[in-house]
Structure formats: C-alpha cells, structure tokens
C-alpha cells in the first residue's frame, strides 16, 4: 500500500509541475502584460520602467522560477483589479464552492445509488426503463436551463425558495440539486451496470448458496464491489463538478471561486486567474489522489498491481 501511495505522489508532482507551467503561460501567451497595465498613451520610457519593475525584461526561465518559488509560499502577487493579495481573494471564496460541490455530490449519490441498484435488480422491467428515461433526461438537461426552471417553479410560481443568494439552508437546495442532477445520471448508469456485472459473479452465487438473505447479498457483497468503478468515476467527475459550479454559481449568485475566476478572466486580472487555476487544479489532483487511495483500500487487487 505504501508503494502504491508513493507512486501516486510521484505522479502528483508531475501534474503539479504541468499546472504551474500552464498557469505561468496564461500571462505570457496573451502578449505583453504591460500593455494591459498601462494607459494607451504611456510613453516608451514608462513601458520600459514597468517591464523592469515586473521583472519582464529577465530571461523567461528566471521569470518562471520566480513565479514558482513565490507561488509555493502562496504569493501570487496582488490582484490588479481589487488591489489585494490574489491568494487571500481566492482562498476566501473557496469554501462556498467546496460546500456547493460537496452538496452536489451528496445529491447525486442520493439519487443515483438507490435508483441504479433498483434498476439493476429489476433489469428490463418498467422500473428499469423509467430509471433509464430519468437518466437520459437528466443528462440531456443543461445546468443553466435546469437552474432557471427550478427558479421559475420554486421561486417565482410557488414562492417556496429564495431564487438566489447564500447563507441559509434554503439557499443550498436548488443549486445543490442543479449540480447533483447533472452528475446523477452517469453515476446511476455506472451503479446499474456495476451491480448487474457483480450479481452474475461466482461469489454472489456462493453467498446465496450459503443461504444469506437477498438484501444482505446485495448490500454486503454486490454493492461493495459495484462501488469501485463508481468511486473512480466520481473522482474523475470532480473536475466536471467544479466546471458545473461555474454555471450554477452564476445563476444562483453564489459567491464562490468559480464566479471569481470567470470575472477575473473578464477583467484580465491575471494574478487571480493564475492563483485560482493552481488552487483548483491542486484541489482536483488531491481529490483524485484520495480516490485512488480509497479504491486501493477497498480493492486489494489494485494495490497489488
């Protein structure tokens, strides 16, 4: 197990290096940042002075090294727009996004686990067809459409929930559902096919032959095995979930890091964009590492390979 984790960590280092290169490139592929910072009518001397001030006249590898050595300490520079450190700006907005993605994940699981299992156990019945139909509909509905539909029904018509905002539990319901609904279909299909596959395995027959009750066979033996691909995919989907958060946060005026990133791109506020890209990527990488570890713990075959 230790070697397994060590291998994952080495991969992580490679990925993080790639991310840092990418984040560094953000600023440089878009042309001279000084052009963005100074007024159009600034003189040539002013430009040179600024280039020197920002260290842009140094060789590119020196600039990269400086960027990385500072980023490691959480110093991404000041936001050009808000005049505060980019790091604290991004960090401040992390929790709402994490709460949102986690609650979206919970919603997805609450929908997908029972439906997927039922669909598998009642294969080719009307229950299965219904679940498949729900999954297809869920997969087809874009988040922005679903979000606005939820608002129209639950806020405008029924007046049950606040249409937007952050802070109370009521505020969580629609965004979490919106995000979860996008993830639920693929999870449900995986649970279904996983359970179907496992139910045909020899050890299930053995369990049944031992005289175990069917419920116990499903929950204790089949489900645990069916979970492995689901956990892996959920880990991979975490990035998607964060992507969905961008749209969800915008629709529901959620003060998270996703909207901050989009806004910063629009304002060409590169320190914040760089910082957000690095932190979000680290988050995704960490989640994937955790997933790998969890899968390894559940499944001894993977540890060994």
């Amino acid at each position: 197990m230790r070697r397994y984790i060590a291998r994952q960590l080495v991969q992580l280092v490679v990925v993080v290096f790639g991310i840092s290169l990418l984040a560094f490139a953000i600023l440089h592929v878009l042309g001279d940042p000084v052009l963005l910072l100074l007024p159009q009518n600034a003189g040539k001397e002013e430009f040179e002075r600024y280039r020197h001030l920002l260290g842009l006249d140094r060789p590119i590898y020196v600039q990269y090294w400086k960027f990385v050595s500072r980023a490691v300490l959480g110093d991404f520079g000041k936001s050009w727009y808000a005049d505060t450190p980019a790091f604290s700006l991004v960090l401040e907005r992390m929790p709402p996004t994490i709460y949102l993605t986690l609650s979206g994940l919970v919603v997805a699981l609450v929908i997908a686990l029972p439906l997927g299992t039922v669909a598998a156990l009642r294969r080719h019945s009307w229950v299965d067809s219904l679940c498949t139909a729900v999954a297809v509909a869920g997969q087809a509905a874009p988040i922005f459409w679903l979000g606005i539909m939820l608002i129209i029904v639950f806020s405008v018509r029924l007046r049950l929930l606040p249409a937007s905002g952050y802070g109370t539990w009521q505020n969580f319901l629609m965004p979490a559902f919106c995000l979860g609904a996008a993830l639920a279909p693929i999870t449900m299909r995986l649970v279904r096919s996983g359970v179907i596959e496992v139910m045909n395995m020899e050890f299930i027959k053995t369990a049944r032959a031992k005289g175990l009750a069917e419920g116990r066979v499903v929950v204790k033996h089949a489900f645990r095995n069916a979970c492995i691909p689901v956990i892996t995919v959920l880990g991979l989907q975490f990035g998607q979930l964060l992507g969905g958060a961008i749209i969800t946060e915008t629709i529901f005026a959620w003060p998270g890091v996703a909207t901050l990133t989009v806004e910063s791109i629009r304002n060409q506020d590169f320190p914040v964009v760089q910082c957000a890209v690095v932190l979000l990527a680290l988050l995704i990488v960490t989640v994937n590492l955790l997933v790998d570890v969890v899968v390894g713990l559940i499944d001894p075959r993977i540890r060994a390979s």
């Binding site: 802070g167 629709i251 005026a253």
Partner: protein
C-alpha cells in the same frame, strides 16, 4: 455519552455552516433590495471607473453639485452656490451644518483635501482625468473654497457632480488602504456591512442634512445572471433591477408583482465608418459612400419594430440630453435610389463589399438584432457587409484602438455621465483619439473653441456648427440615443433615472 457529544458537535458545526447572514432588526417593510450585476472593487469612488461605484457613491457620499432628475439641470448639493471670480477662478460656498458619518463637520478643508488627493498624480486615482483642468483648491474660510483652473473651464460645475466629498480627517489619519473598504461620507445612507461579491447593507443616516429617506435599510445584492435577477424581482426577493432586456419587459409587466420603467439615458449609439483610413484604404473615405450608407438604412422603423421603441433617433452623435444638442438638424431619411446613385458617382456602380466589426451587447440592448437589420438595409443599396464578431468587449475595443478594426464597426459612448457635447466631441471624435476613425481639422478647431470659453450662448453656437458639419459630412452611420429599462417592485414608487444613478433615498412606498 460520547455519541451524544459527537452528534452535538456535528450538529453545531452544520448549523454554524448554514447559519443565516445576520440581518439584525431588519424587516421587509423598512428595507429596499436593489440588485446589481457585479460588485465594485472598493468603497473609494475616485479610485474606480465602474458604474456601480458611481451609484453606490451617490447613496453614501454627497457631491458639491447634483443633478435634478426632473429638470435635468445641475443644482446645489453640498455647495449652495458658485460663481466665477475671473476666467480661471471659481468660488464655491458650502452648506452649513453638514456632518460626516463619523460626526466631524464638513467644510472647505475637506473640499481641498478631497481634490488634493485626487489631483496628486502619485495617488494614481482614476478620477484624476476628470479634473485635470483644476490646478489647485484654496480654503478661503470654513465654508468657502476657491478653485484655480487651467484656463476657462466650462465643464467645472457639471464635473462637480462626479466627485464625492471625502473627509480630511479620514484622508490624513486613516489613509488610502483603509478608505478602500470604509466609506465615511455625508450621504443619506451609511455602510453597515460589505460581504464581497454578495451584498452591501446600508442603513439610513439619521443626521442627514437633506430629506430623510423613506426606507431605513438598503440591501444591495450582487446577482450576475440577468434571468435570476428577473426571477428575484418577480418572486419579491428583489425590488429594483436595471438593464432589463427589451424582450423581458412584457414578462415583468404581466407578473402582477413588478413593472418596468424606462428613461432615455446619456449614451449614443452609432456605426463608425473609417473616414480616416486607420484600417487601411477603404470606400468610406469618400463622403458620398458614407452618405449612401446613411440613406440606405431605415433607422426609424428599426427603432420601432426591433427595439420596441427603446431608442431616440438622433441626427448626429450628440445625445438629446447633452448640453449643445441642436434639435434643428433633422436625421437622414431612407432613400435607396439616392444611395445607389451616390455609390455609382463614387465609382461603385455595382456596390461595395466591406468588413463590419461587431460585438456582443453589453451596454446596447438589442445590438445583434438591430445590426442584422442595418446590414440587410445596407445590402439593398449595394453595400454588402461581411461581419466579424468579437464577443468580448475588451479585445473588441483593443482592436479598434490598435487600428485593427474593419472599415465599419459598432460603437456607443456614455459620455462618462457628463451632460455636455464636449464629452463626446473631444473624447471620441477628434483626430488621434484612440477610438476615433474620423479626422477632420475643421471639427477639431470647433471642439477646441467650444471648450475654451465659459459663455454658454457662444458654446451653443459652436456646437450647432460642429453638429452641422458632422451631419453634412456623414461622419458616421448615425443611430439613436439609448433608453434604459428598469424593473421595479409594485410595492415601491420609483422612476428610471436619466443619469443611470439609482438613488435609494428617492424610493418611496407605493401609494395604494
């Protein structure tokens, strides 16, 4: 027992995470909820160019002069009167008994400190450009300040409406950093709490020198998505929203919960034609082709049918609300035969093919649909356009600035809220301005004359000449003055403001 403790702490953690934002003793009846699309950078209005900062600044700070929304004229606010001592000196008398939110009395020292701070280039405040003509401010006595200007400065009073008064004590003792998040004004509301990107909570200033606002609290919520804003308005979560798209007006008006209100705003839209040849040699360098373009388009019917009437036709680029507007010049009428004839005379009997740089509507409602209609009309006269879409406004304006626009491109100008023809003539239309693809020495001369005299009658005459010149030279494809649309809850009385500054103290409960 251990279980109970764990459970208790988990529940405690959950309720802490989900605890509602503190709204103290606020009730719906004494609160207005106002929505804006994006948050501002800081609470220091001279350090920002955003419309949101201007609006919020008006609610928490005061200006020396303020616009009367009914008459459109600029009148007293913290200043009670002003006069010229000579061509380059203005003397301003201040209101007595005004106090800042921290209790310090307001006086001439604060006026001086405010302008000294803005005018000092080292402070790099964005408002500096607005007041670059002011050389210095002197304190004459507690309630009298004297401004020295660099030559005659006809926009002096107009520009006073664009500068909030900050406190000398705060500037000196607290300093720039502190001021970014802590506004100390003299205005009708005080800031209670700013949850960034989420909400501002304002409370009524009970010691306000002017009329007392009807509502005790203002919640300013940041809601980026327009559809969500409309849904909040219709479900009673928000009371006032702005920039409603024309096609959503019906939905709001039929909701029974809210209504729309519109007002002409200080922004003129046009299509620039590259007379100066900045994009390279092109047919629009010939006056006859520019004239043909103006005669090809039926602007009136586009306003009526595509914009639902939300536009005021203009003959030139000067907005009807700006000082110097000349109503006697009548807009071009569609005349396809004449347009074709002019093209043929210019050497294009078979018409022309020309590039058209377009963008997404961020300030101009219905931009896509109206430009489509204009392209169709132009084609009828033989001006065949090839559109290039650059959706993001930043890159779009950079292309224009860097001489990389097409011979035709979409453009509109908001005058920086200065109700004066100079604010478009000088900033946009003179030679060598970054966004000007029109260059005419005769116009430049008139514009310089107009900004060098204090005599308003003389200025009117100069701007009338300038508009005639621009009109006859068909300098642009002239479009219309824009109208803004606001959505207002039916529980409130509120009219769309023509300067796009929402004044929360002017909101009252609706009479039954």
């Amino acid at each position: 027992m251990i279980h109970a403790i764990t459970l208790g702490s988990v529940l405690g953690l959950i309720s802490a995470l989900l605890a509602p934002v503190d709204v103290s003793a606020q009730t719906k009846d004494d609160t207005i909820v106002y929505a804006i699309q994006s948050d501002m950078q800081n609470w220091d209005p001279p350090n920002s160019v955003l419309r949101e900062s201007i609006i919020m600044g008006y609610n928490v700070f005061d200006h020396l002069a303020a616009r009367d929304l009914k008459t459109g004229k600029v009148g007293p606010s913290l200043a009670v009167s002003w006069k010229n001592i000579d061509d380059s000196t203005w003397e301003v008398k201040l209101r007595k008994g005004v106090k800042f939110h921290d209790g310090t009395p307001f006086g001439a020292k604060d006026v001086k400190a405010t302008f000294d701070r803005v005018l000092n280039p080292e402070n790099k405040l964005t408002a500096r450009g607005n007041h670059a003509k002011i050389k210095s401010v002197e304190v004459v006595d507690d309630l009298t300040a004297r401004f020295k200007t660099d030559g005659p400065y006809p926009l002096f009073v107009e520009r006073l409406t664009a500068q909030v008064m900050q406190s000398e004590k705060v500037i000196k003792e607290k300093g720039h950093e502190w001021m970014q998040e802590n506004p100390v004004g003299t205005g009708p509301y005080k800031l209670v709490k700013w949850s960034k990107k989420q909400e501002h909570l304002l409370i009524r200033n009970e010691d306000y020198w002017g009329p007392k606002p009807a509502y005790k609290y203002v919640r300013v919520r940041i809601i980026p998505e327009q559809a969500t804003q409309i849904a909040e308005l219709m479900s009673g979560g928000v009371d006032i929203i702005k920039a409603v798209p024309p096609d959503q007006m019906d939905v709001i008006n039929k909701s029974g919960q809210a209504r729309t209100t519109t007002s002409p705003i200080l922004r003129t839209a046009m299509i620039q034609l590259d007379q100066a040849g900045r994009s390279g040699a092109n047919p629009f360098q010939d006056r006859r082709v520019r004239l043909a373009a103006n005669l090809a388009v039926d602007v009136d019917s586009i306003i009526k049918h595509v914009l639902n009437g939300l536009g005021d036709r203009v003959a030139t680029t000067v907005n009807p609300m700006a000082f110097g507007f000349d109503a006697s010049i009548k807009p071009y009428k569609q005349d396809l035969a004449q347009a074709k004839k002019l093209l043929a005379e210019a050497g294009f009997p078979n018409g022309i093919d020309v590039g058209f740089l377009r963008t997404q509507p961020t300030v101009e409602p219905g931009l896509i649909q109206t430009s489509d209609a204009i392209m169709a009309d132009l084609a009828k006269a033989g001006i065949r356009t090839k559109a290039r879409m650059v959706g993001e406004v930043g890159p779009f304006t950079n292309l224009i600035r860097d001489n990389k626009a097409d011979p035709m491109f979409e453009f509109s100008w908001g005058y920086y809220s200065i109700f004066d023809a100079d604010a478009i003539f000088y900033d946009v239309m003179t030679c060598n301005q970054p966004y000007s693809y029109y260059c005419n020495k005769a116009l430049d001369d008139l514009v310089i004359q107009g900004r060098s005299t204090l005599d308003s009658k003389r200025r009117m005459e100069i701007y009338a000449k300038a508009q005639k010149l621009v009109y006859e030279d068909a300098a642009y494809l002239f479009k219309w003055g824009l109208r803004g649309v606001w959505g207002v809850s039916n529980r409130l009385e509120y009219d769309a403001p023509r300067d796009e500054v929402d004044r929360m103290w002017a909101v009252t409960p609706r009479k039954k």
